[in-house]
């Protein structure tokens, strides 16, 4: 029996311990905001947070999530600054990869309050977008950094 949390809620799982977290989230828990893209950690569509860090849920077996805190796009507080920036810059086209992009961007901004273009490229290059929204993603991350800094003046100084 694997015991863990998803979006703050306690969960247990006693199925195939090799099942990737992605398919648990989608097919078992019904949390379909996290997307399937490649199954090999090549595209980032399945990005969620494990204890606050971005991971690829398609390549994370259930047996490795025991005791951890998983956060999916559904568990992000409504209108997180990153989501607000995504709205303002109108990032999505088809939208399919955007849950993963947003989860990756939130994890980036947690570690780096004011990333440079270069740092954004490095952090986001594992997340594919076939529609080609990269330019807007980069702009939205800068915008979100500004939002966060404005909300938390202390963050400004360290930025």
């Amino acid at each position: 029996m694997i015991v863990f949390k998803v979006n703050g809620k306690a969960r247990t799982f006693d199925g195939d311990p090799d099942m990737p977290l992605l398919w648990y989230l989608r097919d078992v828990a019904g949390l379909t905001g996290t997307k399937f893209g490649c199954g090999m950690a090549l595209c980032g569509a399945c990005t969620v947070h494990k204890n606050g860090a971005a991971i690829r849920s398609c390549s994370t077996p259930m047996k490795t999530v025991s005791g951890s805190e998983i956060t999916t796009i559904e568990g992000i507080a409504p209108m997180h600054p990153v989501q607000a920036a995504w709205m303002e810059i109108r990032v999505p086209q088809c939208g399919y990869c955007q849950s993963g992009q947003i989860m990756q961007a939130i994890a980036l901004l947690k570690k780096n309050k004011n990333p440079s273009d270069q740092e954004i490229d490095t952090a986001m290059s594992g997340n594919l977008c076939r529609c080609g929204t990269y330019q807007r993603i980069r702009a939205a991350i800068h915008q979100a950094a500004k939002h966060q800094a404005a909300k938390h003046p202390a963050a400004k100084e360290t930025a």
Partner: protein, 752 residues
């Protein structure tokens, strides 16, 4: 018979029939006069239903075309909302089921707005007039004194009285439908949303919080999950299979053999063995444990490298003449400087981020499906044929698409689900892995092109010969077909816009051994690559500036004369949508100016270069300037792209920028990395490791889009940005390195 009809008493979509709702439809299909009130008419004669106003003021507008990142679920409804006088914030957009009553629903070749712009305006204007007349009648004032200048209200100008759309809905529904002659379309100056920046994608909020529902997110009670082991070679069938190990996988229930199609393959399943399980992962795992022996058919002999050599040879010889001006042979015999070049582009896969997936429930003689399809009516036909039921008994819910790019114009994946659901008497969710998607695609054809020109002293050609050889998509319905369809050879080939007295375009024969299907922007991808690369080669050979050379090559302002050809002009009339060289030159001038062409190219450092290409496709004119930086390892970086686009009247400028920005990334993917190969009939690539698409660190860093203001009728937006990108990039690489790229992907050419 009226174009627009009041169908308030006939119900609207599913379960929205309520009293006091005002509903307008439009008749798209000619048929006998509308049956008397309350009498159900046969489906093909029903008017399509476009909008409804509920007593609470909610305006519901139907989106009948597929949303896949193209923005169409917003672009057409907002046109109707604008004419109606509605506030966009009060509009609810409902996706239509697949149904011929909506007219064309095949969302490809970038014609949604072009084909439905007028109908949306007329329907909205009819609704507005009926609301105004209802209000005027209520107040006992002339309708001419009322307007909808305040969104969602009818106001009586002299008295200042106003009534909301919701309050007026019931009375408006009782007004006679105005004739087309009575309709007064808003002048452009009064447009509130069309051409404005004040709206975003309808589904944007859901897309950023994980609530948007794509095909892969559909689920119905009692459904099982299926993954199919398909034959690597087209047309192969299951000789035997052993599912002993597969059935031991936790969650696997059973296996089912799917018969291989009888040629032609069309939209049918490829055949194979399906593993049925109670979740996707178990189905994938079970499939991995299957042992299948295949009977390979004739396509096992297909090797893409051999095709390249054969097609290249074919392009060296005379083919079918598509367009012929003057006398090319005589001109070449006169003698002069002759340049020739051969270009080649490989197969491509669409690789939408959401792989093919569907939920299908076949029961009681009907098939219910939830599918990310670009063509729901084709889906209805395909499933009807397979299941032996009527197309109208296929109820197709079109979900949001996680990208399409042409892949989801084919219904084979939904057909697999239907076959399985029929056999299992259960709803089935069929899920394709990325490997399935890349190995069992309908591939963009590989193309060999040969170009030859004779240039005079000024560098301008006096004779030009062009030959193109590629597998036609008609091979999906006729395995013996050898020449491309007229539309396929037209795009970017019949319509080369250069002003050359002796000019011949030809097409050569090629046999398809894999399923062929178009990737975003169709044959324009390789035709623009061949023609625009060759034009650049001629410019450099003549020691002319490529921009000035291209403008001279296009020549005087004119509407191109296609007499003597069978040019189809994307299905549009040449009167309404002529090929206007002035518009093409204009976008070239704008792209060049915005990029600082000339000044900038002299300022760029070592390893940097600018390239330009221009192309009209889907009736839209696009010119793109690409700046490249080729580093010391020969890796290509794309710091800047400038695109100028003339798409006629634009509904959403932001969506045009979106599509052009996206097209640059899509173009970069195919130009830098895009290559599908086959050995012994089997596709070699399988996932994003060996079929890469551009990541953020390799994609164009900055794309600047300039939209030409135009009152011409609306043209295509989703695809036209793609074709000029690859040649502009390769022309920039030449400027930076002196290396000419004649084969895609670019990684084939050693740059250092």
């Amino acid at each position: 018979m009226k174009l627009i009809e009041n169908v308030s008493r006939r119900g609207f979509l599913e379960g929205t029939l309520a009293t006091g709702v005002f509903i307008l439809g439009a008749r798209l299909i000619p048929g006998p006069l509308w049956a008397s009130e309350g009498e159900a008419a046969p489906a093909p004669l029903q008017p399509s239903l476009w909008m409804a106003i509920a007593p609470d003021g909610t305006v519901t507008i139907v989106a009948h075309r597929t949303e896949m990142g193209n923005g169409i679920k917003t672009s057409l409804p907002i046109v109707l909302a604008d004419e109606l006088g509605a506030a966009w914030s009060r509009v609810k957009v409902e996706q239509a089921l697949g149904d011929p009553k909506y007219g064309d629903q095949e969302t490809d070749t970038s014609h949604s707005v072009r084909d439905f712009f007028d109908l949306m305006r007329q329907t909205g204007a009819a609704g507005r007039l009926m609301l105004i007349r209802a209000a005027a009648a209520h107040w006992g004032v002339p309708a001419a004194e009322c307007n909808t200048r305040e969104p969602h209200f009818v106001r009586h100008r002299p008295s200042g009285r106003k009534l909301g759309f919701g309050e007026l809905a019931e009375a408006a529904a009782k007004q006679p439908v105005p004739s087309r002659e009575e309709l007064q379309l808003n002048p452009r100056s009064a447009w509130r949303y069309i051409g404005k920046e004040n709206h975003h994608l309808y589904d944007l909020p859901d897309m950023i919080n994980g609530k948007a529902r794509y095909g892969i997110d559909q689920a119905i009670a009692g459904m099982v999950y299926a993954a199919v082991a398909r034959p690597a070679v087209l047309g192969a069938s299951v000789k035997s299979h052993d599912d002993t190990e597969a059935l031991k996988v936790h969650g696997v229930k059973q296996t089912v053999v799917i018969e291989t199609f009888k040629p032609p393959h069309g939209h049918q399943p490829m055949g194979g063995v399906a593993v049925i399980a109670d979740n996707t992962w178990a189905a994938f795992q079970g499939r991995r444990k299957l042992k299948v022996e295949w009977d390979n058919g004739s396509h096992v002999g297909y090797n893409s490298e051999e095709f390249r050599m054969t097609a290249t040879e074919t392009a060296r010889k005379p083919g079918q003449v598509i367009r012929n001006l003057g006398d090319v042979d005589a001109a070449f015999q006169k003698g002069g400087t002759v340049l020739e070049a051969e270009y080649y582009t490989p197969h491509l896969a669409h690789a939408p981020m959401e792989p093919p997936v569907a939920v299908v429930d076949v029961r009681d003689g009907k098939a219910y499906c939830w599918a990310p399809t670009q063509d729901p009516q084709q889906l209805q036909k395909t499933l009807a044929d397979l299941l032996g039921i009527k197309p109208e008994d296929v109820i197709c819910h079109v979900t949001l698409l996680g990208g399409g790019f042409g892949r989801k114009s084919f219904q084979d994946f939904v057909a697999e689900g239907a076959v399985l659901s029929q056999k299992l008497h259960k709803p089935v969710k069929i899920v394709w892995s990325r490997e399935d998607d890349i190995r069992f695609c309908y591939y963009h054809p590989s193309a060999a092109m040969y170009l030859k020109a004779m240039v005079g002293s000024g560098g301008k050609p006096s004779a030009w010969l062009q030959r193109s050889v590629f597998q036609g998509s008609a091979s999906t319905s006729d395995a013996e077909v050898l020449y491309p369809g007229q539309d396929e050879i037209d795009n970017g080939w019949t319509d080369v816009p250069f002003d050359i007295p002796n000019h011949r375009a030809e097409s050569g024969a090629a046999r398809a051994n894999v399923r062929i299907g178009w990737v975003r922007s169709v044959t324009n991808i390789f035709h623009a690559f061949g023609v625009q690369s060759f034009a650049d080669e001629l410019a450099h050979a003549a020691k002319k500036d490529p921009v000035q050379y291209q403008l001279a090559l296009i020549g005087r302002d004119r509407k191109i004369d296609f007499s003597g050809t069978k040019y189809q002009n994307y299905g549009a009339s040449l009167d309404q949508f002529p090929y206007d060289t002035a518009r093409l030159k204009r976008v070239i001038e704008i792209a060049a100016e915005k990029s600082g062409w000339g000044k900038r190219s002299t300022e760029l450092g070592k390893g940097h270069g600018l390239g330009i290409a221009a192309h009209r496709s889907f009736l839209t004119y696009v010119a793109t300037v690409v700046e490249v930086e080729v580093d010391t390892r020969g890796q290509v970086h794309i710091p800047n792209v400038w695109t100028a686009v003339d798409a006629g009247t634009v509904v959403s400028p932001d969506n045009v920028r979106y599509q052009m920005e996206g097209a640059a990334v899509f173009g970069a993917s195919l130009a830098l990395f895009g290559e599908i190969t086959a050995t012994n009939g089997a596709i070699i690539q399988s996932n994003f490791n060996n079929y890469p698409i551009a990541r953020m660190n390799r994609a164009p860093r900055h794309v600047e889009v300039h939209i030409v203001e135009s009152e011409a009728p609306p043209a295509g937006v989703g695809e036209p940005g793609v074709p000029p990108f690859a040649p502009a990039l390769c022309n920039a690489v030449f400027a930076a390195t002196g290396k000419r790229v004649r084969e895609l992907p670019l990684s084939k050419t050693k740059l250092v």
